[in-house]
């Protein structure tokens, strides 16, 4: 199961000092702490912890992506927009996975799968032993859907005020963090449902 999905900005490797790593959207499925948790917790503290955990993941993903870009000799130009007509080649986009040990920052050990597209990082935080092939293809699918339906390739749009669309996509393709085995036709069917539910 997926514990969290987030989108954050990806700065170019040389631009380390300008700006900060910002989480643009995040969704945690369920809560991590259980009633048996012996630590004292208040509502505010729990939320703060959750947000900080997500930010910690975003920062790690950004650094992994930058290191991978540097190692492959790809400059920041590749992360920028080429042309809004070209389909974005998601299969060649930088991607990877790494583990988070228990306590750092989540209570349980987790696996992180990430994908970098056009200065945006898409991240899935999973349980420790998950079907990574499925997670990877789900992440690619989510990225493609978000890029298409939010028209992120158009320079003037951004995803900050589009939470309803992001939630709509997640509710169908990753309901409650459940990874789904969707073949192409199922995906098309769901996309039609999605488009039908949005007012024009």
């Amino acid at each position: 199961m997926v514990h969290a999905f987030l989108i954050h900005n990806l700065r170019a490797p040389q631009a380390q000092d300008t700006g900060l790593c910002r989480v643009l959207y995040s969704c945690v499925f369920g809560a991590e702490n259980s009633p048996d948790d012996p630590r004292p917790h208040g509502a505010e503290r729990d939320r703060l912890l959750r947000k900080e955990q997500i930010l910690a993941v975003a920062r790690q993903v950004e650094s992994m992506c930058q290191l991978q870009q540097q190692a492959s000799g790809r400059t920041s130009v590749d992360l920028q927009l080429q042309s809004s007509d070209e389909p974005v080649p998601l299969h060649e986009a930088p991607h990877g996975a790494f583990r988070l040990a228990a306590g750092d920052p989540f209570q349980e050990p987790r696996t992180v799968v990430w994908l970098g597209v056009l200065s945006l990082g898409f991240v899935l935080v999973l349980d420790a032993h998950e079907n990574l092939l499925l997670a990877e293809s789900t992440l690619r699918l989510l990225a493609r859907l978000l890029l298409d339906h939010l028209r992120l390739l158009t320079p003037s749009t951004n995803l900050l005020l589009r939470a309803d669309r992001i939630e709509g996509i997640l509710a169908r393709f990753l309901p409650h963090g459940q990874l789904l085995f969707l073949n192409d036709q199922f995906v098309q069917g769901l996309e039609k449902e999605l488009s039908a539910s949005w007012p024009r």
Partner: protein
């Protein structure tokens, strides 16, 4: 896209003040109270979501606003867009104490799912999880044909079993298991009907949906699965997809004993005995209890998926799905065999055939991992030799696919997670360390932590020396892999190496047979038991040393070295320690020249050398010859005009660029070796220590001290730091106290003048107070020098200790021994 406009929007959202937010909340309330909820309401809620999510600190929302958000969410007439926004705002501000949401009266399952997402995010202080679970199961049990579709509820069930499995009763579990069987095995094999909008000219009967098809376009040959396609889908086909997606988690949940309860030995015995009793026939004929029936149908489903994965998919997306389905099928089979050993016989034949087929398919290499996992889990019980599977996995896969980040990650995790299961096969893992290091060398940032955990299992008395060499040569391995990729035919459109770096000289020189041999050694797949001097290869690959990937790998090596030494000191005996210490001395000047690599490695090696000496103090005497050579070569540099000033500097100062010769011989580690000599070259540590040895060391070190203090500092080679001089002098003093012959010399110094080492005073008259060296002998440094501090070492108080050092107490690192005796 993240633009400047977006950044300012975020800032605005974060900076909004409480009063402004209050006003905004009332605006939202006004908008939501209207009969018609239009785009204004959507816009306002989008902004509200941004405001509450942009900051990690709590935002106070007015009570009326929160109340109205909940009401809107539960309202049956509200459009989906608004429901989504209300749910997301409530979830984003969770956990909340003031929620009155309840899913008891919601009819639409889609809406129920949204409300559940808010309730499940609360952390369950009021038993929300249980109440959601109860409501969901009541709907699932109702089984009304026209009732709400369970499609939206299955993910909720899956989440609940993940969060709070104890909230489900056994009869509820059984009920759902029965329904899962129906959905998995008996979904319709006809395509669904398109939802046409009707109209005057439409003739519904004209379009009869045909049967579902396989991914290669052929008509489906058996029951419906996730790999069956069609133009439109029926509700039960949707449920088939959902059911399989949650199957593994459900199977694990619904087995109350769990796979971990029985002892591993007992379980394999149980599996073995069951195997002999039961035949290969399936039990489909008998009426089984729900749990067992689900397992049986799950088994059939997995077998069908395995068959369907042999087909050649028409679309790329379906081809990727086939691989994911294969992995899932094997994982489910693994769970089934753990829960019910009678599945083992049938599964084994299926998996062996699958493995044979997949071995030859490079596109499906990642699917080999769960199969190997299966054989590790069940191999012993089934008397199957998992060795061949592991050998293939560890000796071939890393060499061919090290450049795939996902495979490298999965394979490393596989090795790390299964260490307890390797058993007799641990040897294969150990011998394959050169191959595993390829994964690490190419993908060091994500894999370093995994290898730190894995290293202790790769190192034993036989492999330790070879592993240490391999670790020190890891950046060189990265460079060699890069070269190998450039020389091989391209396998993908985009080059796997850094195209901005051009290395024609390397490519040309690599055709030389001498380098071929060394390259082959470095790129070997298994441990060879021998070591090779890779100096010529370092020079050949020098153009690649500044490549980003090599530099990243070099940065990981010090951490790995620490892990290595922590592991090896657990079991190393005297002989191995001696070999390793020798290795440290030899390799200190033959490292691949990556920027700053040598400095960092020397820091680790020097502290570890000292640690090794502390464990086996007689090491210094045993390695006397090599140490003498080492110290001698340091002083021999004088003839080349370079200075010894490249020794340790305080961490706060940047290292100046040094000529290569000066950096030769690992001069940063000189002080530690010298300290070790001073500490342990004594008859109290090893009876074989002779006065001649002490004298020889004294002379060599005295020569070094003379050189470091007499050479003129220049812009490129600043003066030697005081710490180094201190260590040399301290050591000389200690040695002098152990040998009768040396005391007069100590008193006189090289120029023949009395009160030893007067040239030291000339060297640093103002920089730091250089007292009479005799007093330095009176109060010596209490512990080995720490080379990270920036303050000059204190010299200690003057004492009236005379030229004859009678009772000089030498506090050594072990803290107890007085090492000066006559």
């Amino acid at each position: 896209m993240f633009t400047a406009g977006a950044e300012s929007l975020l800032h605005q959202a974060r900076d909004i003040r409480d009063e402004e937010l209050k006003k905004f909340c009332s605006r939202v309330v006004n908008l939501l109270q209207k009969d018609e909820l239009g785009p204004d309401a959507v816009d306002a809620l989008q902004r509200l979501f941004l405001i509450v999510s942009a900051t990690k600190y709590k935002r106070k929302l007015e009570d009326t606003c929160v109340h109205l958000l909940q009401a809107t969410l539960c309202s049956p007439k509200c459009p989906e867009q608004l429901q989504l926004l209300c749910a997301s705002i409530l979830r984003e501000t969770s956990p909340r104490d003031d929620l009155t949401l309840s899913c008891d009266h919601i009819q639409s399952t889609r809406q129920l799912s949204l409300v559940a997402s808010v309730l499940l995010a609360q952390g369950d202080p009021k038993g929300e999880v249980r109440s959601v679970g109860q409501r969901v199961f009541r709907i699932l049990e109702s089984r009304q044909p026209e009732g709400p579709s369970p499609r939206h509820l299955l993910p909720v069930v899956s989440k609940i079993t993940h969060l709070a499995p104890h909230t489900l009763h056994e009869d509820q579990t059984n009920q759902l298991s029965k329904r899962l069987v129906d959905w998995l095995r008996y979904a319709s094999v006809q395509q669904g009907v398109a939802h046409t909008s009707g109209g005057f000219f439409s003739t519904p009967r004209a379009r009869q949906p045909g049967p579902v098809t396989e991914v290669d376009g052929a008509v489906a040959t058996d029951f419906f699965t996730v790999l069956s396609t069609g133009q439109h889908f029926t509700e039960d086909q949707w449920l088939n997809v959902q059911a399989f997606s949650m199957l593994r988690a459900w199977l694990l949940h619904s087995d109350p004993e769990g796979p971990s309860a029985p002892d591993a030995d007992d379980r394999s015995e149980l599996e073995g005995s069951t195997l002999s009793v039961l035949s290969a026939g399936s039990t489909a004929g008998r009426l089984l209890p729900p749990r067992e029936r689900l397992r049986e149908k799950a088994f059939e489903y997995c077998q069908r998926l395995a068959e369907q994965s042999t087909r050649r998919a028409l679309r790329k997306g379906d081809s990727d799905l086939q691989k994911a389905c294969l992995v899932e099928a094997v994982l489910v089979l693994d769970v089934l065999c753990r829960q019910d050993p009678s599945f083992l016989y049938r599964t084994l034949s299926c998996l062996k055939a699958l493995h044979a087929r997949l071995c030859g398919d490079p596109a499906r290499v990642r699917t080999l991992l769960p199969i190997a996992q299966f054989f590790l889990n069940h191999g012993e019980a089934a008397a199957v030799d998992s060795e061949a599977v592991l050998r293939h996995l560890l000796t071939r896969t890393p060499s061919e696919f090290f450049h795939s980040p996902m495979l490298a990650f999965e394979l490393t995790c596989f090795c790390r997670d299964n260490l307890p299961l390797f058993g007799r096969n641990l040897d294969i893992l150990k011998r394959s360390f050169p191959n595993l290091f390829k994964l690490l060398a190419w993908n060091s940032p994500p894999l370093t932590a995994e290898f730190v955990a894995l290293l202790p299992s790769l190192v034993d008395a036989d492999t330790a020396v070879e592993v240490l060499h391999a670790l020190l040569d890891l950046p060189c391995l990265t460079a060699a892999l890069d070269l190998q990729l450039r020389l091989s035919p391209a396998t993908s459109e985009r080059p796997l190496w850094d195209p901005s770096l051009k290395i024609p000289s390397c490519l040309e020189a690599s055709r030389d047979p001498q380098f071929q041999g060394l390259l082959q050694y470095l790129l070997r797949a298994t441990a060879s038991g021998t070591t090779e001097r890779l100096g010529p290869l370092h020079r050949l690959l020098q153009p690649l040393a500044s490549c980003a990937r090599v530099v990243q790998c070099a940065q990981a090596v010090p951490t790995l070295l620490e892990a290595f030494f922590s592991a090896v000191t657990q079991f190393a005996d005297g002989a191995l320690t001696k070999q390793l210490a020798l290795l440290l001395l030899e390799r200190s000047d033959s490292l691949f020249q990556v920027p700053q690599y040598e400095a960092h490695v020397h820091r680790v090696l020097s502290s570890r050398f000292l640690a090794l000496c502390a464990l086996h103090p007689s090491l210094v005497v045993e390695l006397a010859k090599e140490l003498l050579e080492f110290v001698g070569s340091v002083s021999g540099i004088q003839g080349r005009g370079a200075m010894l000033a490249s020794v340790v500097r305080p961490a706060s100062l940047p290292a100046p660029p040094l000529p290569r010769r000066a950096a030769r011989r690992g001069l940063r580690s000189v002080p530690t070796q010298v300290w070790a000599i001073g500490e342990y070259l004594s008859v109290s540590w090893d009876r074989r220590c002779t006065v001649e040895q002490i004298n020889r060391f004294f002379e060599a070190l005295e020569a070094v001290l003379f050189e470091v203090t007499q050479s003129r500092p220049s812009a490129a080679l600043p003066r030697c730091p005081p710490q180094v001089v201190t260590v040399l002098m301290t050591t000389l003093t200690k040695l002098a106290s152990r040998s009768q012959d040396l005391i007069p010399r100590y008193g006189r110094g090289r120029t023949g003048k009395p009160a030893g080492f007067p040239w030291v005073r000339e060297w640093a008259p103002d920089a730091c107070p250089v007292p009479d060296v005799r007093s330095a002998g009176g109060r010596l440094l209490a512990s080995p020098p720490r080379f990270s501090s920036s303050s000059p070492t204190s010299w200690g108080p003057r004492s009236t200790c005379g030229a004859r050092l009678q009772r000089t107490r030498v506090p050594s690192s072990s803290g107890s021994l007085c090492s000066c005796r006559r």
